[in-house]
């Protein structure tokens, strides 16, 4: 018995780890894709797989996010090459389609596939997913969802036209639905000879960024295969049956339908692994690495151990653990790149009119035990809080220098970014002075009490909340700011209902254009407008909305820069928020991996550019 045990043990131990295989690349990441179909993809993990499986019309030139190269389109449309044409105020983008491109299925790509792909995305438009981008671009910001677009065309709400079983409610409704496709959607994206023509209602500065590669919402799918797999048949009659379905009801949820450099071997959802294999017939030549395994390993210590042992080639490190990555680099086990921009901002904004029913205001009155609902509509209160944020310490100590202070909620490198604007300042004396002026001096005399929420598990948000609490209380003992950790569901619901006195939240770019940040944070119609309160909205309508709308419609860069600068100056003057920091990247790879470069628009890794030495 004992002998058998010993022999088994010896056998197990003697099998050493296999030498790293140059044909296989293992990437350890966190989380896992939600879907592999561009239809429901709106997260980086899904985006990463899709950008390797599918091609788009155009792609970025290296690290640039403003210069494009051809991809499935043989040319990048521009006014100069005559492929962007203005007709009665509408703008036409013409994409000549590459010939002889093969899908993984063996089908040949045609311009019809391009038309099908985009129309499928627009008509599908699942709630809360990415396709508002293309709809906004096509309609010059008139609509964000296909349902609203339809309602405007048909004069009836979508829910009044189609019932819960996805059948038209009446013949009249059905006729409207059919003609909506025929008259509105279909003409927008048309095949003309060997080109595909997109028609925009007016200029939209970010259009090429939206359809460009790395955006899963512009991935071109194999239309024959999609139809074979039961997806939309491309006909006007019945498109609503494929509108707003569950992720796994679309054709490519767990099936590869693209023409990209890698094919899907298996998406093992139990093991959190996506296994890819090189597509040898790729039109631009086969990739260098044959097998790719993207593996979600959520426990950091496990991930790091596997990377250290050579069982993985790339591993995700949170900025908090930069030291551990650098220690590996010192031992020659890793190559660490830091400091490159990543198109994201984390900031804190105030709620100018907190919704009724919020439990985070204390007594709800300015009596030393709470705050009134409109507490933050006083600019002195906002300024005082902003002076209490010690950004330099935060960036140095909490995120190990992997961040930068920026003047507003616009990342560095974006059009309109202006380094002459003032950065957030940490100054307790000025904070005290502002507090003394706030609410006619009442704030200073009576004191106040409120809670800053953060979602637990998010270390940086928690530290920001604790830091503000610490410094605000240190100014005047009557000021009580309590950090309160809640779980994501509670945090989300409190935000959506406008209950939070102030909120800390990040934004990751959908596409690299300033509009995506400026409108999100500052416009009255932006994603974060609701949680800043009605009083903020009124301010924004009066002060910045016009400029934000004008900026996205402007075609001249200088004009856009001027407008964005003006919006940012107002944001600073009125202290709309505290831009906490702009994260910068951290990439850790084994010394054998070559070819990686930073690219802010990309999700995760594009393996086509990577290679591995022995």
């Amino acid at each position: 018995m004992k002998k058998i045990l010993l022999v088994t043990l010896a056998l197990l131990v003697s099998l050493f780890a296999f030498a790293s295989d140059p044909n296989t690349l293992v990437n350890l990441t966190i989380g896992e894709p939600e879907t592999l179909d561009g239809m429901h993809s709106y997260d980086t993990a899904s985006g990463e797989v899709i950008e390797n499986l599918y091609d788009n019309l155009i792609q970025y030139n290296g690290q640039s996010v403003t210069e494009f190269l051809p991809m499935l389109s043989t040319e990048v449309p521009s006014v100069d090459n005559g492929l962007v044409v203005e007709e009665d105020g509408a703008l036409k983008y013409i994409f000549p389609i590459r010939e002889g491109v093969k899908f993984h299925s063996g089908n040949i790509l045609t311009p019809a596939d391009v038309e099908y792909s985009f129309e499928r995305y627009i008509l599908g438009d699942p709630a809360g997913k990415a396709h508002w981008m293309i709809i906004e671009a096509l309609t010059s910001s008139a609509f964000y969802t296909v349902e609203d677009w339809f309602a405007d065309y048909a004069g009836m709400a979508y829910s009044d036209a189609v019932n819960a079983d996805r059948n038209p409610i009446s013949d009249e409704a059905k006729a409207k639905l059919v003609s909506f496709y025929e008259e509105v959607i279909d003409p927008r994206i048309e095949v003309v000879d060997n080109t595909v023509v997109f028609t925009l209602d007016g200029p939209f500065g970010a259009f090429l960024n939206i359809v460009c590669h790395f955006g899963s919402w512009g991935a071109i799918v194999d239309s024959k295969l999609a139809m074979e797999r039961g997806d939309w048949d491309g006909k006007a009659d019945g498109w609503w049956k494929w509108h707003d379905l569950e992720a796994d009801e679309y054709a490519f949820h767990d099936f590869g339908g693209g023409s990209g450099p890698y094919k899907l071997v298996e998406w093992d959802r139990a093991q959190q692994k996506v296994v890819l294999e090189r597509f040898d017939d790729y039109w631009a030549g086969p990739a260098a690495i044959k097998n790719v395994v993207i593996w979600g390993v959520d426990e950091f210590s496990t991930r790091k151990s596997m990377f250290e042992a050579g069982d993985a080639d790339i591993a995700y490190f949170d900025p908090v653990y930069l030291d551990q990555a650098l220690a590996l680099e010192a031992q020659g086990k890793a190559e660490v790149t830091t400091g490159y921009p990543v198109s994201s901002i984390t900031s804190l904004h105030f709620n100018w009119l907190i919704a009724e029913g919020s439990e985070y205001l204390g007594s709800g009155k300015l009596d030393g035990n709470g705050i009134p609902r409109e507490f933050f509509s006083d600019i002195h209160v906002r300024r005082a809080f902003a002076f209490c944020y010690d950004g330099i310490t935060f960036i140095d100590e909490v995120i190990n220098g992997l961040g930068k202070l920026v003047p507003t909620d616009l990342p560095e490198g974006y059009l309109g970014f202006d380094e002459t604007l003032p950065l957030p300042e940490f100054n307790l004396a000025r904070a005290a002075a502002e507090f003394k002026q706030a609410w006619g001096g009442e704030v200073w005399n009576k004191g106040f009490k409120l809670q800053i929420l953060y979602n637990t598990g998010n270390n940086s948000r928690q530290t920001v909340a604790e830091m503000l609490s610490y410094f605000v209380s240190s100014i005047n003992p009557k000021f009580k700011v309590e950090p309160l950790g809640v779980q994501w569901p509670t945090y989300l619901s409190a935000q959506n209902n406008g209950f939070l006195p102030m909120f800390i939240i990040g934004w990751v770019a959908d596409y690299p254009d300033p509009h995506n940040f400026i409108s999100t944070y500052y416009a009255s119609f932006g994603t974060y407008a609701g949680r800043q309160g009605q009083l903020f909205r009124e301010w924004a309508i009066e002060n910045v909305d016009d400029e934000i709308v004008a900026a996205i419609k402007a075609t001249d860069s200088a004009e856009r820069i001027k407008l964005y600068k003006s919006v940012q100056e107002k944001a600073i003057e009125f202290t709309l928020g505290i831009p906490l920091y702009m994260p910068v990247g951290l990439h850790v790879e084994s010394p054998q991996v070559d070819g990686w470069y930073p690219q802010t628009a990309r999700s995760g890794y594009y393996y086509y550019h990577l290679s591995k030495s022995e």
């Binding site: 426990e299 637990t456 779980q487």
Partner: protein
């Protein structure tokens, strides 16, 4: 009767003190009680407010090795010494409240069930079955999401899903005791049922519950730590051993720089659970009728 009880008690105590592990357990417990009672004197108080919130000593979350100012070191910006000392109070609170309340509920439901029998018993036991069939971890996790974050919520969740085994135990014991001579005698004498339960049955069936309780006090501390690990336990920065251990989780691979964040709270936890288990083990050996020679 009284004299006899006293001498039996003395005999039991004598036996108890002769048991080495029992003595060790008791000493450990006394030590923990002292630490808990004198926590403000030992580790000081949090001047910024709630004493159960470990004060921040650094904004960085990196481990800082022990110094004279922070004898157990720092992790997550929190002083480990403060956390371990005040965590003793948390551990007692957690263990005692949960076991106390769940035992109370269990005893009540168990006795009602056994006493009334019939359909009351049937319904109560089905309810016990249902609660037993819900995976405990899931129930606790969903409960804490509903109730919100914080140790008090964890306590409530653990009470709601912790009373069933006591109920079963007490019910079984009462059913058994009902047939014993002295109960039959009391019945024959015409004593009221509830009096019989309170005076004769419960005192004779409660020991297994006490033993069970003493062992579970420790394990609840571990369960709470597990919930902290899964992100639904005490809020970060709370003076709780499990919370400090969770901080060390991501520094595990650099033990030379972070050993103190595991060793100190870990030792405290192991000794605490061990103490209750040793005491419980000894009590069982002594009270278990099968063990009495």
């Amino acid at each position: 009767m009284a004299v006899k009880r006293k001498s039996e008690f003395r005999k039991i105590m004598k036996k108890y003190w002769k048991n080495g592990t029992a003595v060790l357990g008791t000493c450990l417990l006394v030590f923990f009680i002292i630490v808990a009672v004198f926590a403000p004197q030992i580790a000081g108080v949090n001047e910024m407010g709630n004493n159960y919130q470990i004060p921040r000593v650094s904004w960085s979350s990196k481990p800082i090795a022990p110094t004279s100012e922070h004898p157990f070191g720092v992790i997550g910006g929190r002083d480990i010494f403060y956390g371990v000392v005040w965590g003793t109070r948390t551990a007692f609170r957690l263990g005692l409240i949960i076991t106390g309340f769940s035992a109370l509920i269990g005893v009540a439901i168990g006795s009602i069930s056994a006493y009334f029998g019939g359909w009351v018993d049937e319904i109560l036991m089905r309810i016990v079955d249902i609660f037993l069939s819900i995976p405990f971890l899931v129930a606790a996790m969903v409960m804490t999401t509903i109730l919100g974050k914080g140790l008090d919520k964890v306590i409530i969740a653990l009470i709601i899903f912790g009373w069933m085994s006591t109920a079963r135990l007490i019910r079984g014991n009462i059913l058994q005791a009902r047939e014993e001579q002295y109960v039959l005698a009391a019945k024959a004498l015409g004593q009221k049922d509830w009096k019989i339960i309170m005076k004769h049955i419960l005192p004779n069936t409660i020991f297994p519950v006490v033993v069970q309780m003493s062992m579970r006090i420790g394990s609840y501390v571990i369960t709470a730590a597990g919930l902290s690990f899964l992100g639904v336990g005490a809020e970060p920065g709370y003076a709780d051993w499990g919370t400090i251990l969770s901080y060390s989780r991501n520094w595990m691979t650099m033990l030379n720089e972070s050993w103190f964040a595991i060793v100190f709270p870990g030792t405290a936890m192991v000794l605490f659970v061990l103490a209750w288990n040793l005491v419980g083990d000894a009590l069982r050996d002594i009270f278990d009728p099968r063990m009495r020679s």
